[in-house]
């Protein structure tokens, strides 16, 4: 029993990381239909800046968090201003390719600034891991799960209850119609980049004490987070969370009961099977997907 629980907790820990990263994809997707493949770099920047402010500059904990999130948001803003906005031909595939380029540039800058070593800071709450029926779970995992839940609630409220959020969703579905309705599409796109960069930073700040953070962790986080997002249904907050936890738990159970060498393969195969039967993801709706451009 305790062994099973331990596998489950391990899966929750891994899944929480994926879910948190997956959430970031949804914001930009909801506003622009772009898949931002530099999302992993936002997570890395968040984690590394948090280290920089709290450990290197020794600023207070909360101030460091605020600064790390703000600066990452600024980088999101710069990314949109410098790379997405100047494009004349708003081709989705082109824009997705640009995000790949941005991710490579960001990784290079991070390597120069922070070097190739991993960074770490102490978890939000010090103390021993929690023992439940003989299995242990790190306190930081609970923080990550809590923060993820909070983020979903905030995202749900934003996209469904506020004018700004609804306007952003409208832009993704049909930019021309949104413009006719008087929505400033450019501004919505800009806000979405800032928000998803900030969401990435929150993820980075929360997961670094568990995974450590180094300049080239971004692509792996992006791939797994993206898997979580499409498994749950792109654009759906709770979808990416459930997707993330499913992938995490699958990986952990495969490692535990089959073999650790097979865990990535098995998790990906099961994901493909799910997508085969539900192409729009677990919570996504096929009709909506068909209506969208990408």
């Amino acid at each position: 029993m305790s062994v099973f629980l331990q596998f489950l907790f391990s899966g929750l820990t891994i899944g929480a990381v994926y879910a948190m990263v997956g959430l970031g994809f949804n914001i930009i997707y909801n506003a622009t239909s772009i898949i931002n493949l530099a999302q992993g770099e936002f997570v890395v920047i968040g984690g590394l800046l948090m280290w920089f402010f709290s450990e290197s500059l020794r600023l207070p904990f909360l101030l460091s968090i605020v600064l790390a999130i703000t600066f990452t948001g600024l980088i999101g803003l710069l990314m949109e201003r410098l790379t997405i906005r100047p494009i004349k031909k708003k081709d989705l595939l082109l824009m997705i390719m640009i995000t790949i380029a941005v991710s490579i540039v960001l990784r290079g800058i991070l390597m120069f600034k922070f070097g190739k070593d991993p960074y770490n800071y102490s978890p939000f709450t010090e103390g021993d891991p929690i023992n439940i029926y003989g299995a242990y779970i790190q306190q930081q995992t609970l923080w990550v799960i809590g923060i993820t839940t909070l983020c979903i609630i905030l995202m749900y409220l934003f996209f469904n209850k506020t004018m700004l959020g609804k306007a952003m969703k409208a832009c993704a579905v049909d930019p021309t119609a949104a413009r006719i309705a008087g929505i400033n599409v450019e501004r919505m796109v800009m806000i979405s980049f800032v928000m998803s960069a900030m969401m990435g930073a929150v993820a980075g700040i929360a997961v670094t004490p568990i995974t450590l953070m180094e300049y080239d962790r971004g692509p792996m986080l992006a791939v797994k987070g993206f898997c979580a997002a499409i498994m749950g249904g792109l654009g759906r907050g709770r979808g990416s969370v459930i997707g993330g936890f499913i992938i995490g738990i699958l990986e952990s159970m495969t490692a535990g009961y089959i073999h650790s060498g097979a865990k990535d393969a098995v998790a990906l195969i099961i994901m493909l099977v799910i997508l085969f039967f539900r192409p729009a993801g677990i919570f996504g709706s096929k009709t909506i997907i068909d209506l969208r451009r990408f």
Binding site: Q6, S10, G11, T13, P118, T211, L212, A255
Partner: protein, 380 residues
Amino acid sequence: MYMRTIVFLLFILMPLVALAKEPYKIGAILSVTGAASFLGEPEKNTLLMLSEQINRAGGFNGVPLEIIIEDSKSDETQAVLAAKKLLEKDKVLAIIGPSTTGETMAVIPTVTAEKTPLISCASASKITEPVKERYWIFKTAPNDYSAVEAMFEYMKGIGIARIGILTITTSYGDAGRIAMKEMAPKFGLQIVADERYGPKDSDMTTQLTKIKASNAQAVVNWSVGPSQVIVTKNWHTLKLGIPLYQSHGFGSKRNISLAGKASEGVKVPLGRLVIWDKLPNNHPQKALLKKYSTDYEGRFRSEPGTFGGHAYDALMMLTEAIKKVGPDKAKIRDYLENNIKNWSGTGGIFNMSPTDHCGLDKDAFEMVVVKNGDWEILKY
């Protein structure tokens, strides 16, 4: 008028021509960027620092040393291209590197065809074995099974019989896994669990739980990079109750500071470079380790690590050879093979021979434990 200008120019250029003796060229192929940059970076720094020191001391009787460093980007194809460039365009006397086993294996045919000595900084034993086919190839990193032998000998000494192994799915982890499986029976050890994980995995508690359940008396983790810190933290979180052994890749103070108090009690087979200050004063390696370590830290503000040391040993061997036999590739090779005896380097005491182009064995390692945030040499 023309004539005067030409004469004038000649006068200016004359001293330059006279002074600039053609330098002796040594090439280096290092993974300065890419996945193995943690190896290439300290190696590059070391070579730059050493060549400055050598040239400041007058080079080879006035002939300067020129090191040409090529970045292989941790990629086999790039490494081969770099080797061709060094051999054909720069016409180097010898090559240091590549940093990784895969890249070294890739350049061996090219280098052998050009009859040029190569000293690799990678660790797999297949680089220099069989020695007959590796006439021109040497290496300064100890064989991967030497660290395993040192660790297993210690385990046998304290009565451990069943171990669980945990390895990363990279060539480093593969090599360690194979070495451990091969060596375990020779030391009366039984491998009761064989677990793996990916290089960017964020949690290994599942694997550790399985190892614990398999009734192992110790866990051995074989990896480099952040994952070894994550394993250490997971081991501590789970309060596993069995000791954790790490590979020699753990040999950096950064790992201790990243893992914090979780690293207390972790046991590691380490080369003496990282623990030079703990060695007795009469140890033959101590003086050179101290100089290298303090020079490097003073200049680059980071630890040289075992890997920088491999490049150090390679260049020092080559300079000694060139000083003794001159710029002749075949003679340099012969010197490396026959005259590197009882030779103190950063990696250990080298003893090269026609049957051994590595020259190090398990005595290059000390078993070390993490205690109060520092290394402590284990005596048993």
